[in-house]
Subunit: 337 residues, 2 copies
């Protein structure tokens, strides 16, 4: 048996809390023997939910948190004021070593701000990027950064490239991952000021497999494994990716239901279509890690169902087993010399 | 009969020149009596192509241009050195009033640089944005800016909003178009430095229907009509939009062909599916206008087929009929007082 990984899970975060959160925890415990979960949130609500299940009580502990941070609250204020919230309490548990990681479907802003303020960054890490996994035609890619640091500097992006490579290789199992920077053309002289400044630094950066610029149109086809960009652009990419896929699938369904003939055809196609669309479903990959912290913080979609919660917990296990943070410490220490 | 619109068409631009270009010109002439076309490029190649058609010779003039600007050439240098290229010659024809507009599927960089350098901007316009039309679930939206001006300032974005509104209302026929700025959250305090600076200016801007921020995920659903952003972000949106749709459709087709049952189903669905996907086809809308110039320059996809060339030529007709440039002059003059 490998080492136990202890994960704090935000029982109050997201649209489907606590029902889907607790369900996801149960599925994670079933799938792995090496997971211990702290369910953090309103004790009564959690215990009520737990009654539905039969489980090994030695592997779950409920930690009461009397406050809840709402999605719309200004993050910095929420973190400072709501000391008794599930997010703040769980982040302190990561900081003091009570647990290895924290998984939450709650307020992105509060998690990002709280992660940096409470858990703190690894020495040498200037900014902690949020790095969601996005599905591509030939598997998946890591998009880094995606929401934590708007108006980043070129040195930040170089660190994102290094941390992203480490995560991609060791947590996702992609050997010698291809690192590319998001740009508006393939040539080195293209780009805005930030990209032009970052490109030569990435070219000279040791320990990563930099393949140059990537145009946004080539992202879905899987032209790179680690896609480096500043957070505003990353956020646009992530959300547009999801929005376009959703809109297109909705329109296709509408098209399929438009005539009697197409309805019959749709019934025959459905199993094959579902299988295809499943590969484009981000829930399969778990949440987005906030990298470069003294611990692990994973942000899942606000709309997370049990499957994403489960996968995010198992992701924490891999993160610990693969010693991702030790590797980041080693790499960034070399890079900073 | 309305006034004649004279359009210079780059016979050498794009992957399918001159075949699809000349074909598109023929279709435009057939569809409208009010169009006169200058076909600019290598005379022999154009005349060879023209032999295939029967047409009214009084409505086409071939203008010989001995040089061709390749897509990979650095734009500024190409515009300065290749005075005999189709792009440079046609842009001078717009400048000196020989024609009203120029349509090209050639080098984006050369067209954008040449448009500003040769044709020149309307007095008061600081930067000329490229504004492609993107399909949405309930019609279309104008994405402005999309490639002409990286690292734009907030005042530029305010002008983009104004010009985009005018174009959207008068050329696309969308009454009182909803203007939104691309952001990473719906709240006013969200965003990078540029968006935070631009947001209040848009809020105070008269003559536009500013509805606030738009998150990228809401673009495909059609949550705004004029989508304002700086060019780097716009370029990412445009290309990712196309790339995601292409990848998804490719995967769906693969899924449909994966089993015998799904193949039979696919055959039944195909007509309905094709109709759906056609609404997401940008070629139906013509090319992207470069707004704010003393004339009109339209950039079509490098892969343009005849239909996009035809629609782009007809777009020039609407542009002239609707006096878009007069309206921009009036609005921006008010805005600059």
């Amino acid at each position: 048996m490998s080492e136990m990984v202890k994960v704090a899970v935000d029982a109050m975060g997201g649209d489907n809390a606590p029902v889907e959160i607790v369900k996801g925890v149960m599925e994670a415990l079933q799938e792995s023997d090496d997971v211990f979960v702290y369910l953090v949130g309103l004790e009564d609500a959690i215990k009520e939910e737990l009654k539905k299940y039969q489980y090994d009580e030695s592997r779950i502990e409920v930690v009461h948190a009397s406050e809840v941070i709402e999605t719309a609250e200004p993050p910095v204020m929420a973190i400072r004021r709501k000391k008794e919230s599930s997010i703040v309490k769980a982040l302190y548990m990561v900081k003091d070593g009570t647990c290895d990681a924290f998984v939450s479907a709650g307020s992105s802003g509060a998690i990002l701000v709280g992660g940096q303020l409470i858990v703190g960054r690894i020495k040498g890490v200037e900014r902690a990027p949020l790095a969601p996994i996005i599905p591509t035609e030939n598997g998946m890619a890591l998009l880094i950064d995606c929401g934590a640091n708007v108006d980043a500097k070129s040195n930040n992006l170089v660190q994102f490239a290094k941390m992203g490579s480490i995560y991609c290789e060791n947590a996702l199992g992609i050997k010698n991952p291809r690192v590319a920077i998001v740009n508006i053309g393939a040539e080195e002289e293209k780009g805005n000021a930030l990209v032009k400044e970052t490109f030569p630094k990435l070219k000279e950066c040791e320990g990563i497999n930099f393949i140059g610029s990537i145009e946004a149109r080539d992202i879905p086809a899987g032209a790179a494994d680690v896609i480096v960009c500043e957070a505003f652009v990353g956020n646009v990419i992530l959300k547009l990716y999801e929005g376009t896929a959703t809109a297109l699938v909705r329109q296709i369904k509408k098209g399929l239901m438009s005539t009697l003939k197409s309805k019959i055809g749709a019934a025959l196609c459905l199993p094959a279509l579902k299988k295809t669309l499943k590969t484009f479903n981000t829930e399969e990959y778990g949440g987005a890690p906030l990298l470069g912290l003294n611990g692990l913080v994973v942000k899942t979609h606000g709309s997370s169902k049990a499957i994403e919660v489960k996968n995010s917990i198992l992701q924490c296990k891999v993160f610990k087993e693969q010693r991702i943070n030790d590797r980041i410490r080693e790499q960034l220490a070399i890079g900073n010399e």
